[in-house]
Amino acid sequence: MAAALLRRGGRALQGFWRSQHSKTEPKPEALSGFNFELTEQQKKFQDTARKFAREEIMPVAAEYDRTGEYPVPLIKRAWELGLMNVHIPESCGGLGLGSFDACLITEELAYGCTGLQTAIEGNSLGQMPVIIAGNEQQRKKYLGRMTEQPLMCAYCVTEPGAGSDVAGLQTRAEKKGNEYVINGQKMWITNGGKANWYFLLARTDSDPKAPASKAFTGFIVEADTPGVQIGRKEINMGQRCSDTRGIVFENVIVPKENVLLGEGAGFKIAMGAFDRTRPLVAAGAVGLAQRALDEATKYALERKTFGRHLVEHQAVSFLLAEMAMKVELARMAYQRAAWEVDMGRRNTYHASIAKAFSGDIANQVASDAVQIFGGSGFNSEYPVEKLMRDAKIYQIYEGTAQIQRLIIAREHIGKYKK
């Protein structure tokens, strides 16, 4: 029936469907329940972040990647626009945004340059333990100063000998009167060389049999404390403008006022911070993937081969279709994870899914983008090789792809066990 209609009045039918499409007015108000619409405020946040990324980050990103120089002017600008430190509560002079709003901003910044986005994200991660577990004085002191000047902070947990295995941390903190003396070595610390203060996780319980949930303590350490030795800037594969360093703590004295919550509470705080920042990392990966998709599509619309544009070849258009599928799904995954934690619910399952999936697809999409560019994709004059190098770390930091799978399996199977 439909086929006959199409044959007879094909044009008319096409016109009918098209007119139906253009007639539908997007409903402005959300119905209760599922809603994919952003609020006015969220759209405006996104617009500001997008404008900043397209107009200020993108023109200079390749140069920062080449030199590895820390993008101080961009960070200052992001701070001025309010795009940094978005989680800091209003009582400390911040915006007090939830994870969802922060994710929108992060995706837009990552579209411009993930190196810069990671530097900014390093701040959010370092601040998160203080935001969730700090007392009034700690928050006013350490979060307050971040809103007064464009300062950086860092999250110091990983060590040369322990990354995924947080329970294997060796950095020791010994209580001596009203102070703690910290000895140990941290590695791969984002913003390590630029931070004003660190969130540090150290072992306070010397009993090797003590459970991880009781053996560690979270400290706030000022970066200029004597004994803090900052290592050289590491030259990485991607996100090269981000500052990654090893830091040695040699008899670093920290007052007991800088202990978060109390002795032994460190592990829970450190993991709690991840629940809030994991969606952000996923959002960053999606921003990168979106950029790769956009660059590849634009190129495929221009480049011709065998007498036709690349997009007209099914092999290429299928590649683009799969890239598009991955980006859309990854976006929905992080949005769900961010929304869950903003609702006040435990979002571990969704956050891990979002991070695992988006890290993986970012790598696939970036690699496919290089493929679509062909020989040019391999070349540093074109933007996609940077994306492919930048993407790899998303499968590693903030919980490796393998750790995420462990978490997802545990959460998933746990649902069936009862």
Binding site: S22, P26, D47, T48, K51, E80, V86, L95
Partner: protein
């Protein structure tokens, strides 16, 4: 602090980055569901007005937009950029297509006189019709001097020095206020709405907004800069071939002007 009031016209147009598509019936361009934003030259005009206010050369910046209710979006952007008040001259959707520079300049003329504006700042042209007429016509109707294609603006007392970009190069003229100036590309770099500004503005809007009202609901400025209440007035304004009247109503902090065909 100066007594000068700046009236800034802002137009809601299809966003510059959108790929325009012609409607299947060839009667125009697809606008449904297409991203719209403030005309870039109007943004530059708003930015200039706000900068003058920050330099304390202008007392109040009033943004005006003519068109259907979606224009309130554009006015909100102007308010978030720093304008004090927004006036939405509501034109029903069916009439909006016939709204052109002649009609808009008549409205701006009436408003400039009503609001006792000393400076009318407009974008040099809109990016959808590229008419480049509204500023010039408004100046003529008001019988005020005009400085169009301004790439530099300096206010000194009751005079304004305008550096214009013209075909032959740059021309500098000095106008006695009140005057009409139209903004060109290099006049300034419009500010972003920073996140704290957006939040403050949205919070104020939530406090003082009349969201639940019917389409003719007014545009609000943040309560902190509450509008003075407008007296009811009636003025005959010829619009196209029909004469309409401009009426204003006072809803507390906000104002709506409606064009009623006679």
């Amino acid at each position: 602090m100066a007594e000068l009031r700046a009236l800034v016209g802002v137009k809601r147009v299809i966003d510059y980055a959108v790929k325009i598509r012609v409607k299947p019936d060839k009667t125009g361009v697809v606008t449904d569901g297409v991203k719209h934003s403030m005309n870039p030259f109007c943004e530059i005009a708003v930015e200039e007005a706000v900068r003058l206010k920050e330099k304390k050369l202008v007392k109040e910046v009033i943004a005006v937009s003519c068109g259907p209710k979606q224009c309130q979006e554009t006015l909100r952007t102007a308010l978030a950029m720093g304008a004090d008040r927004g006036i939405h001259v509501e034109v029903p959707e069916s009439e909006a297509e016939r709204l052109g520079p002649l009609q808009v300049s008549r409205v701006l003329t009436a408003l400039a006189q009503k609001e006792k504006a000393g400076l009318v700042l407009l974008g040099k042209q809109a990016i959808d019709d590229d008419c480049n007429q509204t500023g010039q016509m408004t100046a003529a109707m008001l019988d005020w001097p005009q400085g169009t294609f301004a790439s530099k603006l300096t206010l000194e007392g009751d005079k304004v020095t305008v550096e214009r970009e013209i075909d032959g190069g740059l021309e500098t003229i000095r106008l006695k206020l009140p005057a009409v100036v139209t903004a060109d590309l290099r006049l300034n770099e419009p500010r972003y709405a920073t996140l704290p500004n957006i939040m403050d503005y949205e919070a104020a809007r939530a406090l003082g907004g009349h969201e639940s009202q019917p389409p003719s609901s007014p545009v609000c400025g943040p309560p902190a800069f509450a509008c003075s209440s407008l007296p009811l007035y009636l003025q005959l304004v010829p619009i196209g071939t029909r004469t309409c009247f401009l009426s204003s109503s006072n809803h507390g902090e906000s104002s709506t002007l409606k064009l009623f065909p006679l």
